[in-house]
Symmetry: C2
């Protein structure tokens, strides 16, 4: 398709200065794109919080905010993680995710629960630059430059250092094997319980200014070549911020999850299913998607950034050169184990975590954990989801549960009463669930409804 096909552009819908309009005016303009503008605006209004102060707070989190998108806020009880029981808040629009995590958590709570470990939890970022001179010269001046970099960011790091964090390493990386003259300065940061994005980016932008200043004033650099900073930015590939989680039990103890199958057969099928996810991208993608169903639900509930967590996890899943399963399952000496290791950068202070009332509530319900503890809880939720999903796949399949939820959602849409729900569940057991079929069923039921 060629751009030229679109030369007679419609411009009636182009709105200049939209961001400067008031909310009501924005809503009016936005609603004019809907089939029934009045009704559209009405729906949006109805989703606003009745407390104008609270609503104002939420409006401020983003831009051109018209109203709120409701995501179900649920909980999965009985998460035993490193010996402590948690009520885990989960935010997801997908049915069965919370139920599956809860079922899995309950199972493992009787079997030692989930055990996690974290490492140093370092975040990283880079100043990316081009340098026309020799790499040797850069290496030669780098110790001196490093001192300047560290001194330059001291005012920024002072507060973080008071909290026990700060910058842990600064290094020069030669990326010339990829792009001629490409170098970068890497910073590694300990941001304690904060996600630390603002802190890291502020440090890196300061690094960039100091680097440019140095390149423009140091005699060796001035005569040695030309330096151009391309950008300065944290990396979401947080391979220094890793969590490992595992759960294990005797194979013979697995009966409650084996769907009537002998526990040994269930365990072997499970291990094979995970192995299949390790060797092929078609299965690995879906397998990991199921893990992130659990992870993201807690990431969102606690006010963290799920795009960052997803990007890091999936890129990590491809680190061998083949995109593969994040989890592994084994049977050894009659013990079944399921484990997973992945980068997981989250915070429990700063940003949304402290500003969104429901995120604050989530963290409070979790006992106000530090970042490392939250990593453990989130990874456990991911592993719990994985266990439930693979467990269902190798036994009864996933459709039985999904169709039940699907029916329930459609009944909700039609405002079914408890009696109608009971009748529908009976009718649709063994029948195909669909929107039209449920509507027909309810229409008939209501038309010929029982008295009273």
């Amino acid at each position: 398709m060629n751009l030229k096909n679109f030369c007679d552009m419609p411009d009636k819908d182009i709105i200049k200065g939209f961001s400067r309009l008031g909310r009501r005016e924005k809503l009016e303009r936005a609603s004019s794109f809907a089939s029934d503008p009045g009704k559209a605006a009405e729906i949006a209004e109805k989703y606003r919080h009745h407390d104008t102060g609270v609503q104002k707070l939420h409006d401020g989190f983003s831009e051109n905010t018209l109203t709120n998108f409701f995501m179900p806020y649920g909980v999965a009880p009985n998460f035993l993680v490193n010996g402590k029981v948690y009520m885990v808040p989960m935010v997801t629009e997908e049915s069965s995710v919370v139920a599956a995590a809860a079922r899995s958590a309950g199972f493992w709570s009787d079997r030692g629960g989930f055990i996690y470990e974290t490492n140093d939890m370092l975040k990283n970022g880079h100043v990316h630059f081009l340098w026309t001179g020799s790499g040797e010269l850069l290496q030669e001046v780098f110790p001196e430059l490093r001192e300047k970099l560290l001194a330059g960011i001291a005012p920024i790091t002072a507060n973080m250092e008071k909290r026990g964090g700060g910058i842990r390493a600064v290094s020069l990386e030669d990326m010339g094997h990829e792009i001629e003259g490409y170098y970068r300065i890497k910073g590694e940061f300990d941001t304690r319980d904060s996600m630390g994005a603002n802190f890291i980016n502020s440090c890196l932008e300061e690094f960039a200014a100091i680097l440019e200043d140095f390149a423009g004033s140091d005699e060796r650099m001035v005569s040695g070549g030309e330096l151009k900073v391309i950008m300065s930015i944290l990396s979401n590939y947080t391979d220094g911020c890793i969590v490992s989680v595992r759960a294990e039990c005797d194979v013979e103890e697995m009966a409650p999850f084996s769907g009537g199958m002998p526990p040994g057969e269930f365990a072997r099928k499970f291990v094979m299913a995970v192995r299949m996810a390790a060797v092929d991208v078609f299965r690995a993608t879906t397998h990991n998607k199921g893990i992130f169903n659990g992870i993201d639900a807690v990431v969102i509930a606690t006010g963290n950034d799920f795009r960052a967590v997803e990007a890091a996890g999936h890129a990590w899943a491809a680190r061998s050169g083949r995109y593969s399963s994040l989890s592994g399952a084994h049977i050894e000496d009659g013990r079944f184990s399921l484990e997973m290791t992945l980068p997981l950068s989250v915070g429990t202070v700063g940003g949304m975590t402290g500003l969104h009332p429901m995120a604050r509530l989530s963290l409070d319900m979790l006992g106000n954990p530090g970042a490392g503890e939250l990593m453990g809880i989130i990874a456990s939720a991911g592993l719990a989801s994985n266990f439930a999903a693979v467990g269902a796949l190798v036994t009864k399949g996933i459709q039985a549960g999904h169709m039940k939820m699907h029916l329930s959602n459609i009944l909700g849409h039609f405002g079914a009463t408890d009696d109608e729900r009971a009748a529908a569940e009976k009718y649709f057991s063994g029948r195909k669930v669909g929107f039209a079929a449920v509507e027909n069923f309810l229409t008939k039921l209501r038309g010929g409804g029982k008295p009273g």
Copy 2:
């Protein structure tokens, strides 16, 4: 860390039968984990919709639902996509995402907008099984088996076929190079405007039943070996459901986005920044994360599943064996172009898209597009985010904008008035923004506040 360390498990917090409790009782139990149970329950209650019917609908989308998690629902105007102007609904908790997308869309709306193309939009899934017999025998019987498979799912596909969709291909794949005796039956499906997960999984589970029946009844199969189905499931690696999107303009037209830099220099820096994201995982991860900032915001707003979209996109980004940038940028004959190709499986009918009132509103505001059109809009939002992010990185950096939003959020938290906001913005221009610093500033301002 060893499981044995955790043998004296606390069980006071383990709750049996939680899922069967009523919502109020669930909330009470969940709140008991918070530092102030009464207050926690009160906050949760306040986030419920005032209309009990609407709230009941939302409660039914997931399980153990206590209340709603508010995500800001905003819009980015002026998205010119394949010659049509859209008001794009975006749901994101991250500040600057909507503003950046809107700014980018506005820029491109004067330069031909975004142009997308889709392919056949086929989804896929597999029956994964082990077979101890010869692969030749499987190949030999497969044509016959395929007929049975297709006949068996006819009742399931009938409705989809009426809508122009259905099953497009069934094939046998020998995965023995990875795991001995591992085979799978692959189905390729056209699910029209629906995401189609339930449809595909229903077909695959039926396939599995037919396959097992065939293996247990066909004489050649019975005497040829043993067959065991491990699982049947769709794949989120939707490499048959691809969208390509691009935007291009004369380099000389780029001044409004070049932050004072000559347009040519800006364009060259931009292209270099994207190249850096192509060659290294640290930069690629963050680069793609920025793309998904835009993509996910529209995916969520339209009731689609962002975990599925993320998993497919990131796995696809690693398809060469090296996790790489999803977008590419080029300068040729004085023209700058930015393009991106990725799998993107979404629906505009069925599931949440039809049930969540705000998702319905989003689709209505977009003119009730088909799945292909929605893929184009979503990919455009992703490319717009990418353009804004890289554009900011190679010019003024991203901290300036972020700190402004950060200040605004903190002011919102403290319920700052418009006058207080103006004073704070003046005071903090050039000063470090932090929670404590803003609190101090407001305290002083309020303590010694001006009369009136």
